[in-house]
């Protein structure tokens, strides 16, 4: 049995709310879900690295906002945004996200416009 340790982190409020619902439906805990997904990410990263394949690292850097889409597509040898979207979905990595504050500001801009 692996030794477990506690650690402190921060998570998006809405994501945590959704994770609690998923955990309840799956009759498990948020902690178990977190461990499973973190293990998937770590093992995929390590397997790709051991095989000398940098593609997962590229996708992870894109997901974390450290690499632009064009840079990621160049590194992966693909030339379409759709291929990048599909690879991200396949890798179980989220597309890069702006902060909730930035998104809320854009929603306010849209609300100020006339609609049908």
């Amino acid at each position: 049995m692996a030794t477990t340790v506690n650690f402190t982190g921060a998570v998006d409020r809405d994501l945590l709310k959704r994770a609690k619902i998923v955990a309840a439906k799956a009759d498990t805990s948020v902690n178990a879900l977190f461990n499973a997904e973190l293990r998937y990410l770590v093992e995929t990263f390590e397997a790709a690295e051991a095989a000398g394949n940098q593609n997962f690292r590229v996708l992870l850097d894109f997901s974390l906002g450290r690499l632009a889409a064009d840079e990621a597509m160049g590194a992966l040898g693909i030339d379409g945004e759709e291929d990048l979207f599909l690879l991200m979905a396949r890798a179980h990595l989220p597309m890069p996200r702006l902060s909730q504050e930035a998104t809320a500001e854009m929603i306010d801009q849209l609300k100020s416009l006339p609609t049908a």
Binding site: N55, F62, R90, A91, P96, M106, P114, A116
Partner: protein, 175 residues
């Protein structure tokens, strides 16, 4: 005060891909704004056969959407006819900037709402004129939810991701 039809909604490639995978392209019509495409982006989305290319082309045609011409696309076509491998990187962004510039000098001024995925907004350094707005797909979907035109913005994102996983025939990690 502008009337809704005078406002142009111009989606980038990313939002069209996301909404096509979610089977929700028609959500773009909900605010009553004039949905307008940019020629270079439409070409990029439909030049190869992909899970969404035919759907986007058919949706564009069936709704008779206006497609704005750009010098960028004209130059691309010209270069392609002379050279088998023209430069393609950043042409979509350059074409969008060209359209934004045209909005800046349009008389009478017209409001343009440019829709991008989050990563484009975070990275691209567009010069956005006062009469244009740069917003994300996520913000647009949340706006629709706020207006009561969409039950759940998060559900659309989930549908797109699930469809992407189901459709993906790409080997992962790619060699």
């Amino acid at each position: 005060m502008a009337i809704p039809r005078d406002i142009a909604l111009l989606p980038d490639a990313g939002p069209l891909i996301t909404l096509a995978y979610a089977g929700a392209l028609d959500l773009l019509f909900k605010p009553g704004w004039s949905v307008t495409l940019v020629d270079m982006l439409l070409h990029e989305l439909t030049r190869s056969q992909t899970p969404t290319s035919a759907a986007i082309a058919a949706w564009t045609a069936s709704n008779s959407l206006p497609v704005l011409p750009t010098r960028v696309f004209r130059h691309f076509q010209q270069t392609r006819s002379e050279n088998s491998a023209p430069k393609t990187r950043n042409l979509g962004e350059t074409a969008v900037q060209e359209i934004m510039n045209e909005f800046a000098i349009m008389a009478p001024p017209r409001i343009g709402v440019f829709l991008f995925e989050d990563h484009r907004i975070a990275r691209a350094s567009f010069l956005v004129p006062d009469n244009c707005r740069k917003v994300s797909t996520r913000a647009f979907l949340s706006f629709l939810e706020h207006k009561g035109w969409l039950r759940s913005a998060a559900e659309i994102e989930r549908r797109a991701i699930q469809a992407g996983r189901a459709f993906s025939q790409l080997r992962f990690p790619p060699e």
